[in-house]
Every structure is written in structure tokens, then in C-alpha cells.
Amino acid sequence: MAKKKRANPEINSSSMADIAFLLLIFFLVTTTIANDRGILMQLPPKPDDIEDIDVKIKEHNLFKVYVNSADRLLVEGEPLKDIELIRDMVKEHVLNNGVNPEMSDSPKDAIVSFKTDRGTSYEMYIGVLNELQGAYYEMYGERVGKTATEWRTLTNELDDPENKKLYDKGRGKDKDGKVTFPMNISIAEPSKIGGN
């Protein structure tokens, strides 16, 4: 009896790649990468929870930004075209420390007031808010010898004691736990001139 020639026992797996490709493309198409990044903000408490004390804020401590319903800017009473200029103006105002009598007494007293109109677009609102927060992140970063980007990353990981230390230093936390360099961005209720 002649011995049969043994066939190669390998399974043909060349189409395996095609099957995997098909699955891969399916997942690529159907899934979206979650986008959980953005501008973080803390809202003030309920209107009726705030005690009705007439807090006197000195006019020169306020840095006023107003955007009207046509998305035009008014900063400290002057019209402004380029929103990126706000950043340096905020920094100058906050870090004034009483030198210029028209600007803030100290970073603790400085308040940035941001007011919009009901007709202002959301895009403009985000653009301005981005500059205001960016100015503060830059100042915090400078206080601890980091860039604004590094500061933002370290605020995301406050569980790390090293980061927490830098965070408290940047915000000027004193012995009583009070923050001497707070991010005072006040968002006023919009005016009702334009829009709905």
C-alpha cells in the first residue's frame, strides 16, 4: 500500500485578518471618543440663601467686562475689538496692589465682573470667560513657577500632596485656610435689551 502524501495540517488563516479588519472598522465607525473637557465654573448659591448684607465694593476694585447683544465688548467703559487683550488687562488690574488708584487694592479685593446680554451668543460668552480664567491661571502659574498649562494639569490631580501644596501656594492659602488670591470672577445676570 502506497503511503498517502500527508497534506500540510495548517489551517488557512489568511482571511482572519479580513475578519478582524471588518470588526475594527465597525468599532471605529460606531464609537465616539468621549469629550469631557471644558471650562469649569462654580455657580453662586441660591439667591435667597445669600444674606442680604449690603456689601460695599469699591469701584476701583471692580474690573468690568460687558458684552452686548451684538457680541461687542465693553471693557472698563472702553470698547475693545480683540478679546485676547482682556487677559493682560485682567492681570494688570489684579496685580496692581494699590499702585494705580484706578485699579485693585490687592488680589484679594479684586473682582472681575462679567456681564452679558440675553442676546449675546454662547460662543462669545465662552470666548471671554476663557480669557478671564486664563488670566488667573497664568497668574497662579507664575506664583509657583509654572506655566498656565502646567497649573491646569496640577489642579486636576489634587490627590497628590505635592500638587496640593503648590495649589495652596498659588492661591495664597494662609494659616486660617483663607484664600488670599481667589479667582473672583462674578457673572452677573444678563441685561434684557436684546434677544428673548
Binding site: 468599532f27 469629550n35 469631557d36 453662586p44 452679558t116 442676546g119 451668543s121 470666548g127 444678563p190
Partner: protein, 156 residues
């Protein structure tokens, strides 16, 4: 004059047996890193760009509100005025407080005050609506807010 022995020709095909493994590796990477979207978004979403982005630490504490014009499919029924979408339905501004309480119920009791609302707002929306939403969120005591934005690649 066969001084040089002709070389035996080797098999000219490239071994492709490792190819499926490579593709599978890619496949698993995508399967693990991506999250399937649970809700169908029925409002237009053209998210504005910004540079000073912060990341959220705890995803489980986040609830999403979508704001914008209804999508073309829904415009027949709901018109073109910007709407608020929570989960899978449009809700009115007054219903936000109830929705927040519902979302808070899904969280552990100790974490209820840390609830974060992520607002995904179309960039053409007017501030009037956003301000109304913020007032309701203050009323519901959900004060941590995230305006979802996209990293602006042209700047920064």
C-alpha cells in the same frame, strides 16, 4: 561553464500569519478606549472652542444637558427655537430642578453635593437661555458646572 551554482529560489511570499494578531490588538485597543454613546442627541451640537480647558476627575458624578436648535428631523415637530435635552427627551427650563434631583438620586448619598452638570451648548445659542438654566441649577443646588468645549488647536 557552470562555475556558479544557481541559488535555490526561496519562497517569495511574505509571511502574513502575524497580521491578524496586529489587527486584533488594534481592535481591542479601540474596544477598550471608546465608550458607546447612550443617548441620541436631538439638538444641533456645534461646540465652541477654548484654550483653558480643565478635565473632569470623576465621570460618575457628571450629568449632561444638551442645548441647541432641534436637529432637522425634529424641527417639524418642535420648531427651530433652542431646546434643552436631558437624557433622551426635551425638557422645559422649569423641569431642570426635578431632573437634577432625579440625577442626584442615582448617586451615593455622600456624593450628592458634588454632582457636576456638563453643559453641551451649540455656539449660536443666546445667553438668555443659558442664564435661565444656570438660575435653575442654583435653585437645585447643583453648582458645579462644566461648559464642554473643544481644545482650540490654532491657539495655545
Amino acid at each position: 561553464m557552470h562555475k556558479f551554482k544557481k541559488k535555490t529560489k526561496s519562497d517569495p511570499s511574505i509571511p502574513t500569519s502575524a497580521l491578524p494578531d496586529i489587527i486584533f490588538m488594534l481592535l481591542f485597543f479601540f474596544m477598550v478606549t471608546t465608550v458607546l454613546r447612550e443617548t441620541t442627541i436631538n439638538v444641533e451640537q456645534h461646540i465652541p472652542k477654548a484654550t483653558e480647558l480643565r478635565k473632569l476627575q470623576r465621570k460618575s458624578l457628571v450629568s449632561y444637558l444638551y442645548v441647541g436648535k432641534p436637529t432637522l428631523k425634529m424641527q417639524k415637530q418642535f420648531g427651530k427655537e433652542p431646546r434643552i435635552q436631558a437624557n433622551d427627551v426635551y425638557i422645559a427650563v422649569e423641569e431642570i430642578v426635578g431632573w437634577v434631583l432625579q440625577e442626584k438620586d442615582n448617586l451615593d448619598e455622600v456624593e450628592r453635593d458634588q454632582i457636576t452638570i456638563a453643559l453641551k451648548v451649540n455656539d449660536e445659542t443666546k445667553m438668555g437661555l443659558i442664564s435661565d438654566i444656570q438660575l435653575e441649577l442654583r435653585e437645585a443646588n447643583a453648582r458645579k458646572l462644566l461648559y464642554t468645549t473643544i481644545q482650540d488647536m490654532d491657539r495655545d
